[in-house]
C-alpha cells in the first residue's frame, strides 16, 4: 500500500485482514517516464511485501499502466514492454487495474493492449471502471472490449467499482464484480450490502479503497459489521469477504494464504 502509512498495516492485521491485494494505480501525479514505473513495480514486488510481512500480512499486487496515464501512447507502450519482466515475481497476481478513466480512444487502445498482454501470458485481469458520470459508458465499453477477445475467460476477470447501475451489466457477462467501498463520494457499506441482497453473492466481492484520497483500509471489516447488524449469518459474511475473493484469486497459482487459527 504505497499510499498508506505503516499504521494502516497494523490496523488491518488487527481487524483480521488475511492478505493485501494492491493494484498498480495512479500516483496522484503523472510519472515522467518509464523509469518511474520500473521503480514503482519494484516497490510493489520487493519493498511492500517486506513491509506487510512485518505484520503477518501476505502482500500481492497487480501490474499495469493505469488509465489516467494512458493518454500518452508512447509512455504506455514503454510501460507495457517492461511488465513481462515482472510477471514471474512471486506476489504478482495479474494485470491491473487496467480499464478506462475518461473513455477516450487512446485509453481504449491501451486497454486493448493490456488485455492482449494478459491473454499472451495467461494472467488474471483486474479492471478499473471510471467514476461518477463516466462509469456507465466506461463499463459498457470495457465489457464489450473484453468479451470480444475470445482468449479471455470471463471468470478470470474482475470488473471493479461497480454500483447499482453497472453491477448487473457485469454479472451478466460471467465476469466477477468488485464493489469498492469509500467513506465519501462512492459506494458505501450499506449500498454494497443492498446490492448483494438484490443480486446475490455469486462472483461478487468488496474491497477497501486505500488510495491517495480520503479512504478507509478498514472498510471491508466495517461492512462485515454492518452485515451482522442486518442479520446476515457468519457463513454469509465469510463467503462475501473471504471465500469469494479466495475463489477468484486462487485461479492464480501464486495466491496461497492460510488463516493462522486454522489447523493444518
Amino acid at each position: 500500500m504505497v499510499s498508506r502509512v505503516t499504521d494502516d498495516y497494523v490496523r488491518m492485521a488487527t481487524a483480521g485482514c488475511q492478505a493485501i491485494c494492491e493494484p498498480a494505480f495512479w500516483a496522484g501525479f503523472d510519472r515522467s517516464s518509464v523509469h518511474g514505473f520500473y521503480d514503482y513495480f519494484c516497490q510493489l514486488t520487493e519493498h511492500e511485501p517486506k513491509r506487510a510481512a512485518k505484520f503477518g500480512l501476505p502482500h500481492f499486487c497487480w501490474l499495469c499502466i493505469n488509465p489516467k496515464e494512458s493518454e500518452d501512447l508512447k509512455l504506455a507502450d514503454d510501460v507495457l514492454a517492461i511488465i513481462p519482466k515482472f510477471l514471474n515475481r512471486p506476489n504478482v497476481l495479474g494485470i491491473g487495474e487496467i480499464g478506462l478513466n475518461k473513455n477516450s480512444r487512446n485509453e481504449m487502445k491501451v486497454l486493448e493492449k493490456h488485455v492482449d498482454l494478459a491473454a499472451k501470458h495467461d494472467q488474471l485481469i483486474l479492471v478499473h471502471t471510471p467514476h461518477l458520470e463516466d462509469k456507465l459508458k466506461g463499463t459498457r465499453l470495457i465489457v464489450d472490449l473484453i468479451k470480444s477477445d475470445k482468449r479471455i475467460k470471463p471468470e478470470r476477470v474482475i470488473i471493479d467499482h461497480v454500483e447499482e447501475h453497472t453491477v448487473k451489466l457485469v454479472l451478466d457477462t460471467g465476469m466477477w464484480a468488485g464493489m469498492t467501498l469509500y467513506p465519501e463520494s462512492k459506494c458505501s457499506p450499506a449500498r454494497a450490502i443492498d446490492m448483494v441482497e438484490v443480486y446475490g453473492d455469486q462472483r461478487i466481492w468488496m474491497n477497501s479503497a486505500c488510495d491517495w484520497g480520503v479512504s478507509d483500509p478498514l472498510a471491508v471489516p466495517k461492512t462485515a459489521l454492518e452485515m451482522q447488524r442486518r442479520g446476515h449469518s457468519a457463513a454469509a459474511i465469510d463467503k462475501l469477504i473471504y471465500q469469494n475473493p479466495l475463489k477468484f484469486l486462487s485461479q492464480c497459482p501464486k495466491f496461497k494464504i492460510q488463516r493462522p487459527w486454522q489447523p493444518t
Binding site: 495512479w26 480512444r105 458520470e133 456507465l136 447501475h165
Partner: protein, 89 residues
C-alpha cells in the same frame, strides 16, 4: 429484515442525510449567480425519489451518467464532475 427493522436501523441516518441535502439546496439558492449543469441533473435526480420505483439508487445514478456510447477523441482532464455536462432537456 422486516420493513420495520430497516426503519429502526436506518431512519435516523437517512433523515440526517435528507436534511443535509435540503441545507445544501438552501445554500446554493442563497448564493449569487447561476446554477450549472450539475444542479440541473441534481434536481432531475431528486424527482426520481418520488416515483414508485424500487430501483431509485440505480435511476439516480443513470440521471447523472453520460448516455453516449462512443469513446471521446481525447481525455483533456482526469477528473469527473459528477454529472454529464452535455445533458439537455
Amino acid at each position: 429484515m422486516t420493513r420495520q427493522q430497516i426503519l429502526d436501523l436506518y431512519f435516523i441516518d437517512a433523515r440526517h442525510k435528507l436534511i443535509d441535502l435540503a441545507a445544501f439546496m438552501d445554500r446554493v439558492e442563497r448564493a449569487e449567480g447561476n446554477e450549472d449543469f450539475r444542479m440541473k441533473a441534481f434536481r432531475e435526480a431528486l424527482e426520481e425519489l418520488s416515483k414508485n420505483n424500487r430501483e431509485k439508487a440505480r435511476q439516480v445514478l443513470l440521471t447523472f451518467s453520460d448516455p453516449t456510447t462512443k469513446p471521446i477523441a481525447k481525455a483533456s482532464v482526469k477528473g469527473a464532475t459528477g454529472a454529464w455536462p452535455e445533458k439537455t432537456g
